[in-house]
Symmetry: D2
Subunit: 367 residues, 4 copies
């Protein structure tokens, strides 16, 4: 890995700008349509903006949703991507925390730091930010990106950090941690079930271990992912393809169910499963992006002293996560399975989209 690192820095230093005033970018052109295109370089638009040269980015499951046409706020012509690590190229007059040349982690959530929601730590509901990158404004799957509210939406990369690993802190690690682990109040000695062993479920598994629960049960249809889950620290795994996952979880918990039941899929059936396995006094922490209503069994749960939480990641935990990575409490690089150059981003998409065959978790794209 040290060799790889020095090579990367060498490349950076020798870098020749490929197009005069232009750059390569992965562009969404409507449902089912994407291409690697030449696009104009982004420019500063507001005093709080920064332009960041991307070093590494990645693809999120949400990008696939956009490509299916499921995200109406994202219109054709948009550069995708909301994750990445890069180097500050230029900053607006109002930016005080960053300077050109700073290596930075880009948060998937833009936060003004001023509005009522930002002050309450709900950056995802920022009045002028939230999830806008690669959604309502151009994103990070490009050579350069404009970052609004840079002071409160970028984080300095600590000296000596593994920058590739930090790409996992743009979205997936805080998502699993905030929406799953923190909302679920995972505690020492507690029992946890995570429904869904995809990248988000596995990021939840990694960060749940910060709190030393007694059991972490991963539930999925795919034995390969469950095998990964065991390597990542799951104490038990359940393949739910026989429709008897709830029974299996109850058997593992002396019939009581789990203290924390985390939904990391986003469909009604898995949300109902979470209701079937949560113990009285427990929490169902929803991470999944849902497209449909789900049935809530209040006729049973009304008296069970449970809580159900929902959340879009706020990335308010990013400083804490940076400290845990730097002190080796967690190694997010374990989520990275493939690496591509930006020129091969279409192949990266293919690999990521066919995870069942490729066993891809997160793919790194080097810009």
């Amino acid at each position: 890995m040290p060799g790889v690192h020095s090579l990367r820095w060498l490349n950076t230093a020798r870098r020749v700008r490929p197009y005069l005033g232009g750059m390569k970018a992965l562009v969404y052109n409507g449902p089912g349509l994407k291409s690697l295109e030449d696009r104009p370089m982004p420019a500063l638009q507001a005093p709080g903006d920064a332009i960041v040269r991307i070093l590494k980015t990645t693809i999120c499951g949400t990008d696939l949703h956009i490509l299916k046409g499921d995200v109406p706020t994202c219109t054709p012509g948009r550069i995708l991507g909301h994750e990445g690590v890069g180097v500050v190229e230029s900053v607006g007059a109002g930016v005080t925390a960053f300077h050109p040349g700073d290596h930075v982690l880009i948060s998937c959530i833009s936060s003004c730091g001023k509005c009522e929601y930002c002050r309450r730590g709900m950056y995802s509901h920022c009045a002028t930010g939230g999830w806008i990158l690669g959604n309502t404004i151009d994103g990070t799957q490009a050579e350069y990106v404009r970052i609004p509210h840079a002071d409160t939406s970028l984080y300095p990369v600590p000296p000596g950090a593994d920058e590739e690993a930090l790409v996992m802190l743009s979205d997936i690690l805080p998502t699993g941690f905030e929406c799953g682990v923190l909302n679920g109040k995972v505690a020492p000695g507690s029992t946890v079930a995570i429904v869904g062993a995809g990248p988000i479920g596995l990021a939840t598994l990694l960060t749940a271990q910060f709190y030393s629960p007694a059991q972490i049960i991963l539930i999925d249809l795919d034995d390969a992912r469950l095998e990964v889950a065991r390597r990542f620290g799951a104490t038990h795994t359940v393949n739910s393809s026989d429709g008897r996952a709830a029974e299996a979880v109850l058997a593992l918990t002396s019939g009581r169910g789990v203290d924390v039941s985390i939904e990391a899929v986003g469909i009604p059936a898995t949300f109902v499963l979470c209701q079937d396995i949560v113990a009285p006094g427990g929490i169902i922490a929803n991470i999944g992006v849902h497209g449909h209503p789900a049935e809530l069994h209040l006729e049973r749960l009304w008296s069970h002293n449970i809580a159900i939480t929902t959340r879009l990641v706020d990335t308010v935990s990013t400083p804490m996560l940076l400290k845990t990575v730097q002190s080796h409490q967690v190694d997010p690089a374990r989520l990275i399975t493939h690496r591509f150059k930006l020129d091969d981003v279409l192949q990266a998409y293919d690999t990521f989209a066919h995870a069942a065959e490729t066993h891809a978790l997160k793919v790194i794209i080097e810009a």
Copy 2:
């Protein structure tokens, strides 16, 4: 009222036991069937038991549910009632906190104080207790009642207390406070909506004011109840009979919705209304007893950073509520609209069951 009090004590002192070894009790005899019957006096069965002579009891909406046949755990022959204030008649060998002659408040929840749930403050899930009075064992709508786990299920009536008012602390006040106000995290300056202005909703309204919210909006179909709500401290009321309650609440909150949305009815429609009016970052606190599943609009709420809580009252807040009553922070006697003798308990049921006409909230029955 002083005159009434002295009279009551006089009666108590002169009391002649009406039947040799027997007592009057309101008995559930199957769906739609109840009667005032002669029943044997209860006897101590375990070292932790106490026998309490009832001074005052009341009727709960749950009693009406039992009479409809909706509560299968309650079988014919059961004496109903889980609320009341009385005098300890005798105690088992293991009881140390109470002695014959002590005036006591009876909790609707029996708690052993020893099991894992009791230690976590979840008395409603006590392994050998919970809601058993007037459900799986004989209850308080009688001259005498056996109270299991007496040390941890009775509370001493403070000297000089209004005992009639304290009947409201057996169930209704802690229910509104714990399931609605505490679970909902009502806070100074916050906005609160309570769906349902029946006795439970009004008890929630009274105790929500402990935390000085900026707005408390009561929603109901009955203008008479909304009028009571305004007298009890609601800042706004909404009659939902036009099906536009959500619009009205949004208008009252600058389009944002409320921080705390409390369900105090128990049907799917009102639970959905709570979802329609909760602001991002808010809480839906369910109090209602539900007989059917409800639709949860995860397709909208998944990203709204909300929490939904359920709970059967634990009565863990009874000591705190006793202090607030004694210091006049709340006057639960405001919930009492009618008074009956135990001989007239059938009339009391009629009055309570036809609240729309009688405007009954809580009816006191003097044993």
Copy 3:
């Protein structure tokens, strides 16, 4: 009061600038020395700055400390004052939340909203802010003031608000609320003692009532202040001049002591008194500005399950307090006893400094 308000607005509209490019200001000229002087108008220095024309300001006990020479960070030549309400005159390029003409509440704490402390809600420790106004930069006892980090250090005055009352939200009300009430975890039914019935102690008393404690005991040497405390909602008062305050508090609490013991004086003796009256499981919340160490009786308290908290106000609760004022949960105008014009600011200082004779709490200075 409406007449006064309309007059103020009229004045504002007709206002003629008194000096070309200059303004009146109260200047600290070294220990014991202050004067009303002509000073140059402040100018924008950074993109995040705003210039605010002061409508109303006030004097804080801290200003008297500065005049005694007790605050070495404040050097001669400094315009004093860190409280006030005004109108935005101009803003820097980076300010987005405020515009000229906006009526604003000035926080005594300047907060960048970006640094680690600001993100944790510890604005008082802001890397480039904190308490700087009237301390390390010129303050509000002047016709105009420069406010750094304006977007996160000013708050919009709600339409129709009593602007004079809002001056209490610059410092004194959040100080009592955050350092005393929130840190002390005042709760319904709890018992609270506040040592010191000066303006800060009384602001604590007003905001403690948000949480409906059963007892609030005010302790002071001055019977006049204790009389004010009773009017402001104290359930009991204790004059501590006989040295037996601890006994009196124990007598009022059945020998147990209080759940929350709030120090609002700032000397070792009152901090020790707080230790003498706190019940096991209780909290000592320090508000006072201390110049000397105090003895902590760990030989007794080590096993008492207590917490001691310290804090410089962060003004993180200002949005919440604004809501409570607007909804009439608290009326901070009750703290205002005298009113002066800026031309008479020296007289205002005299009145405030001799509170024992003048019974001054907070004095309003109209600029």
Copy 4:
């Protein structure tokens, strides 16, 4: 270890009572005086009592304090000891959770489960319990012990548990966890300093790791103990014998100090050190048993947003700790350095009292 276990069970089964109606016990006979004596077997005195035959017990630093005459509540003639694992021999009529033959963990704190303090989780302040074993009633350094409030003061030993390791859960592990780790709010990525690397400090170190802090700095005068600390997971150690420990801690934390500063010694100097190294916003969690007041530097700390907590262990976390031991999140047996028979208990005391030479942490005494 399996061989050892089977041997122990064999011994138990074959056990012949050594004295008719009598037993061996370690008795405190006044300052400096202790002896192994024949004492009458304990008998049930109240319905809630249990008699427990001791399998394993240990010696606590508090026992040494008693022997110095520092604990006036403990009078000559007292059998010492408040830790241990044993077998229930007999129970009173009111005991429902345990039966003869049950293997049990004895809590150092007796809790009635009924009084106000017990209901608040403050078992150490139980009106009829608290720390009474080996203090105001006879203790566990004997063949048999009477346990009051058995249902809420004993815990079932899980099947297959390492009973010797569980002796650490009677006192030392919950003490470090509750008074240090929980009160200190140790969190992922945080920085922690523990002053004192004796058994309590090391138990704190073991349980602090439940929460994945970034740094745990152990401070002590003894290099041997610091070496143990490193083996137990300390990220850094500081020998404070040069009087420059505060400088060293600040150097390790970029000059900021630690988020959590835990006092595990009990003298004024170490408590002052904790004040010198705590960062703004941090917590000082006191575990040490103090005999003297300490100076609290309010002249510096008043504005630092810190909290200081004190606590006698409540053992309210015992169920959680049992789960963490059973799921191998922590191995408390690491604290055990020596093993003795009860006949050799005086030698055990010698070994424990001269820890600097013997490197003893916890010594197991087999009854």
